[in-house]
């Protein structure tokens, strides 16, 4: 009923005040805008990438009702013939999915071997259209002659995106690598149905099987059910008929399987953005609280004039909302700019490599943008909430008198609440993840932060008691002020505390992670040289002959072949990596449990070593039994050990190479670790290997180079994290500066009185700096403790639950000491600087103003 009258009041008395304290307003705006921008940009990039990725998957499944999927090595194509004859099935389309290595190029090409006569019925987007460079048949692209042209064994059809990326046109030749050999293919046409975002190629399945040495093998069969057949029923019934390691999925299951991988990473990035946003809200809080203190008399006067409590609170909340709204709008605009820029420069991948090769277009995403605008508004409102309440509570008659500011700063110790928050945090960090996400871990982090801020008013007088012995007037004054008005320490120190805690937590976490990765690499890469035909998923490999030739080279003492494969375990929904390599006999593996040399009885099962991710996901421990499907049969293994693996988030199982070869008859090798005889120059051996195997079909690297590359990737992955963190700390520091500036301004009278009492101008400055240093020191001390606790939660709960990675706690002590000292110094310096403005005021005027 009395809302409209607020208008000029709101405008002139509240919103206008934001303009008067431009610096604080700008900082609050920046903080909120950055929080919103970072969070929204992460979401926009991922939403677009996921969308494009999912679209690709849906495109590739076409109109399939069900998909038969197997391990990467595929399954026998007789399964296809059996399935095609089942009455439930109307159409079946076989598929061979190959990641082809392209010699001399860095990228690989995904090639689908398809049955040209079947693909149209189930997966029409994959239909190849032949184009002859000389005789054009444009008016009838599906003419029988074209179909036949597609059947030529060297004919390859590129999607528009692949043609652009590879820079190839119809008639050009493309070399693909098979094992260590280069095979030529000719571009015979396009796959126009693949859309603009999907880089892929299509060829005849028989030719692909022949070319890539995968005779009789398929990796997928797409099924369309006969009319009236229930899909769930068919899925259950057909699943029984499948060999070990082969699953029957609906296209949706296949899609969620592919997308699940990046979810934890995305959530983690979003959480960092939320932290930036919380920092923004916090800045609004301290700016508003100080503004309320400074405008105390004004508010008291307005109350005397008849402004009611609610009107006052509403005005102050409107200020916060204004900050949130404008910050949010800037943030949303910035996010879209960042996203568009990111798509242009790096594509849809945020550094973790989940969406490499996906090039999504920018889209406005109005719902997401609105959501983040709302979050910005919320941050502004939340920051303004407590100060507004505080202002509305004030007794106007008292506010009209001077010297009432100290009231605000008289915070009661809240040990009970602090301990309760910390206790709850400890309890929450013991809880399991929710749907694979460490929700309780994040809550625990928030509670630790809240608990330590709550501990500030109690801890400040307590810390001041430690200074009791010092008798200098200034120290006594500073100590007395902080002990009597710990609320001031809360306003100024909480900003320090929050940014220190978050920075310390991240520093410890990243240092621990990097150190553990480094350690892990040195254990995973014991050989002197590493040789690979292609990345583990692509089409290059070394056969026995090649391995023998390398072994026979002069200077080579021994070799350790590794075979990579993926398998689908019954117990796990997703595929896991299978690594076959020599383990027994002391080849190292970074174990966290179990043994590399298990005592094997005569009737013991074969040993397997599983990664932490697998142990977590499948709840397996040392001594448990694990069934692994190999060559379409199940074999039982015993878990002999659990090892740390930072490379494969969905889990990996290591088995003896000899066991693998005996069970599968597969003698191919992906990676070869080469141990050199003492005194051999690795360069000479590398050159010899290149000569023996061919220059373009293999990659040779020394462990140092691999390690450097991986650590570089690691650092790049954490780049976004670092950037967001630096922004948060910077904003926090700026906040501290403005807080002290505002504090100094609000205490002008007090300083004036001190000058009257005989303090020199310089001494007042020192007093301000001293108070700031003490406040910051208390904040830093508690922040360090809180940061350590948060780091432990991040390492033991958040990372463990999102990625199933354990790591050894590593304290970057030197860095933390430097950081703390810098922060305390900066706080003192910024306060001194801010105080200069307060001291410039004529002392006499400052005191009299109030009489």
């Amino acid at each position: 009923m009395n809302r409209p009258h607020i208008d000029p009041v709101l405008r002139h008395l509240f919103i206008a005040s934001l303009w008067r304290r431009r610096l604080a307003t700008t900082l609050s705006l920046i903080a909120i805008a950055l929080g919103v921008a970072l969070g929204l940009a992460v979401q926009l990039i991922h939403a677009a990438a996921i969308d494009e990725f999912g679209r690709g998957l849906r495109l590739l499944s076409g109109e399939a009702d069900l998909q038969v999927v197997g391990p990467r090595s595929g399954f026998d194509d007789r399964l296809y013939l059996e399935l095609a004859q089942r009455p439930e099935i109307a159409e079946a389309s076989p598929l061979l999915d190959i990641e082809a290595r392209l010699p001399g190029r860095d990228e690989t090409l995904r090639i689908f071997g398809i049955d040209l006569f079947r693909v149209g019925a189930v997966t029409p987007p994959l239909i190849p259209v032949a184009e002859t460079p000389f005789e054009t048949d444009a008016d009838d692209p599906a003419a029988p002659t074209d179909r036949l042209a597609a059947l030529r064994p060297d004919a390859l059809f590129l999607s528009p995106a692949a043609a652009t990326r590879l820079g190839l046109a119809v008639g050009d030749e493309l070399l693909v690598q098979v094992g260590l050999h280069e095979k030529p293919l000719r571009i015979a046409g396009a796959v126009p149905g693949a859309g603009v975002g999907q880089a892929l190629a299509v060829m005849d399945i028989g030719a692909a099987q022949q070319l890539f040495d995968r005779i009789d093998r398929l990796t997928r069969v797409d099924l369309r059910l006969a009319a009236g057949v229930d899909r769930d029923l068919a899925q259950r019934r057909l699943a029984d008929k499948l060999p070990a390691g082969v699953s029957l999925l609906t296209p949706r299951e296949a899609e969620s399987e592919a997308l699940g991988v990046s979810r934890a990473y995305r959530v983690n990035l979003t959480m960092l953005a939320v932290i930036a946003l919380v920092t923004g809200g916090f800045l609004v809080f301290s700016a508003q609280l100080l503004a309320v203190v400074r405008r105390r008399q004004e508010f008291a006067f307005l109350r005397a004039l008849g402004l009611d409590r609610r009107g006052l609170a509403r005005g102050l909340l409107a200020e916060g909302a204004m900050l949130g709204l404008i910050g949010g709008l800037i943030g949303v605009a910035l996010a879209h700019l960042l996203t568009a820029l990111a798509f242009r420069i790096i594509g849809g991948d945020l550094g973790a490599g989940f969406f490499q090769g996906v090039a999504p277009p920018w889209r406005p995403e109005p719902e997401l943008s609105l959501l983040y605008l709302g979050l910005g508004l919320l941050a502004g409102l939340a920051g303004a909430w407590l100060p507004a309440r505080e202002a509305a509570r004030m007794v106007p008659a008292r506010g009209l008198r001077a010297g009432d500011e100290a009231e605000v700063y008289r915070a009661r110790p809240r040990w009970g609440a602090a301990l309760a928050a910390l206790g709850l945090a400890a309890a929450l960090s013991l809880l399991p993840p929710v749907d694979g996400l460490p929700i309780f871990g994040y809550l625990a982090v928030a509670l630790i932060l809240a608990g330590s801020v709550l501990a500030l008013p109690g801890a400040t007088p307590w810390a001041m008691r430690l200074l009791k012995r010092r008798r200098t007037t200034l120290v006594r004054l500073a100590r007395a002020r902080l002990a009597a008005a710990p609320g001031q320490a809360v306003v100024a120190g909480a900003g320090v505390l929050a940014s220190v805690a978050l920075a310390v937590a991240m520093a410890i976490m990243v240092a621990s992670f990097r150190d553990s990765v480094d350690d892990w690499l040195s254990q995973m890469l014991p050989a002197d040289l590493y040789l690979r035909a292609s990345s583990s998923v692509a089409s290059g490999y070394l056969d026995l002959n090649a391995v023998d030739r390398v072994t026979a080279l002069p200077g080579v003492a021994s070799v350790r072949p590794v075979r990579f494969e993926t398998v689908r375990l019954d117990a796990a929904r997703e595929s896991v990596a299978l690594i076959a390599r020599p383990v027994l006999g002391g080849h190292s593996l970074p174990l966290v449990a179990g043994s590399l040399t298990p005592v094997l009885g005569p009737d013991a099962l074969r040993p397997a070593w599983i990664s932490e991710a697998m142990a977590d996901r499948l709840r397996l421990g040392v001594g448990d039994r694990l069934e692994v499907p190999l060559a379409e049969r199940r074999y039982a293994f015993e878990v002999a050990g659990i090892w740390r693996d930072y490379a494969r988030q969905y889990g990996a199982v290591v088995i003896e190479l000899d066991d693998f070869r005996a069970l599968t008859d597969d003698f191919r090798t992906n990676d070869l670790g080469v141990f050199l005889a003492p005194g051999t120059d690795p360069e000479i051996v590398m050159a010899a290997i290149r000569v023996a195997l061919g220059e373009r079909v293999s990659e040779i690297a020394e462990p140092g180079a691999i390690r450097a590359l991986i650590l570089e990737v690691f650092d790049r992955t954490f780049l976004v994290t670092y950037l967001m963190l630096i922004v948060a700390v910077l904003i926090g520091l700026f906040g501290v500066g403005t807080t002290f500036a505002a504090l100094a301004a609000s205490r002008r009278r007090e300083f004036g009185i001190l000058r009257h009492l005989g303090l020199r101008r310089r001494q007042v400055g020192t007093l301000i700096a001293l108070e700031a240093a003490l406040t910051a020191a208390v904040g830093v001390a508690i922040g360090l403790a809180a940061g350590g606790a948060i780091a432990i939660v991040l390492i033991e709960v958040v990372n463990r639950q999102s990625f199933h990675w354990s790591m050894d706690l590593q304290l970057p002590a030197g860095l933390l000491v430097i950081f703390s000292i810098t922060l305390v110094t900066l706080a003192a310096f910024s306060a001194r600087l801010a105080g200069r403005q307060a001291m410039r005021q004529d002392a006499v005027l400052a005191v009299r103003e109030d009489w």
């Binding site: 009395n2 409209p4 002139h12 109350r303 004039l305 008849g306 009611d308 409590r309 106007p396 009489w851």
Partner: protein, 236 residues
């Protein structure tokens, strides 16, 4: 009419020790009263109680047959908007508003159209002799000028009661005289009830009545009758 009956205010948190009690007063529109008393006797507190800025511990205040002591805090705030005007010792002009805007604040609070409020504020400023400076800022004014603006603001919304707390306390005697002349002239011409709290006998002498606040109520100022008329009074 404003009736104050047996008003009682105790010290914060005590039950037996009154700051003042048995304060009674009746004022008709256009009538002014000056309340004097020693420091600490609670003169400002009495004003605050009358305006509902501090709760009372007993007694009643009635304005135009409405019992103000029964009003809740927010209801009293709404009433203050309409019926009360204030002049403070420290002026309390908002430094970031122009003079016209400062005077218009009570009208804004009453939900008056901004353009109309601006016109009324300017008229009011003219009446206090600052019409030419309506768009100036408070920091450019002398103390006397600031108090003139405050008087304009106290009367712009035609309140029933104007409460003045030591309005000339920050002014030199010469300026004080001018401000007091203006203040009383405007209160009287507006037909408002004026209550003035002051230490200054010169200021008090402008009022229709002078009362002295004691712990046990308001008493007629004994020196009032034989006191010289204001013009002759030099110093307090």
């Amino acid at each position: 009419m404003l009736y104050v009956e047996n008003l009682c205010k105790r010290f914060d948190g005590t039950f037996d020790q009154p700051l003042f009690e048995l304060v009674s007063l009746a004022l008709a529109p256009g009538e002014t009263v000056a309340i004097m008393g020693e420091s600490g006797v609670g003169k400002s507190t009495l004003l605050n109680c009358l305006a509902g800025l501090e709760p009372v511990d007993g007694g009643r205040i009635r304005l135009h047959d409405q019992d103000l002591t029964r009003l809740g805090e927010d209801a009293f705030a709404l009433l203050r908007r309409r019926a009360f005007g204030f002049v403070f010792q420290a002026f309390h002009l908002l430094p970031h508003l122009t003079l016209a805007q400062n005077v218009a604040v009570p009208l804004w609070l009453l939900d008056q159209d901004e353009a109309l409020a601006d016109r009324r504020a300017r008229t009011m400023l003219q009446q206090v002799g600052l019409g030419a400076r309506a768009d100036d800022w408070p920091r450019h004014l002398s103390g006397g000028e600031m108090q003139r603006v405050a008087i304009a603001r106290a009367l712009v919304h035609e309140p029933a009661v104007v409460l003045c707390d030591e309005p000339t306390g920050n002014l030199d005697p010469e300026r004080a005289t001018g401000v007091l002349d203006l203040l009383f002239a405007r209160i009287r011409s507006a037909g408002a009830i004026g209550i003035l709290v002051t230490h200054s006998r010169v200021a008090a002498a402008r009022a229709d009545r002078i009362l002295r606040l004691t712990r046990h109520g308001l008493v007629a100022d004994p020196s009032a009758d034989e006191a010289p008329r204001p013009v002759a009074a030099a110093q307090e």
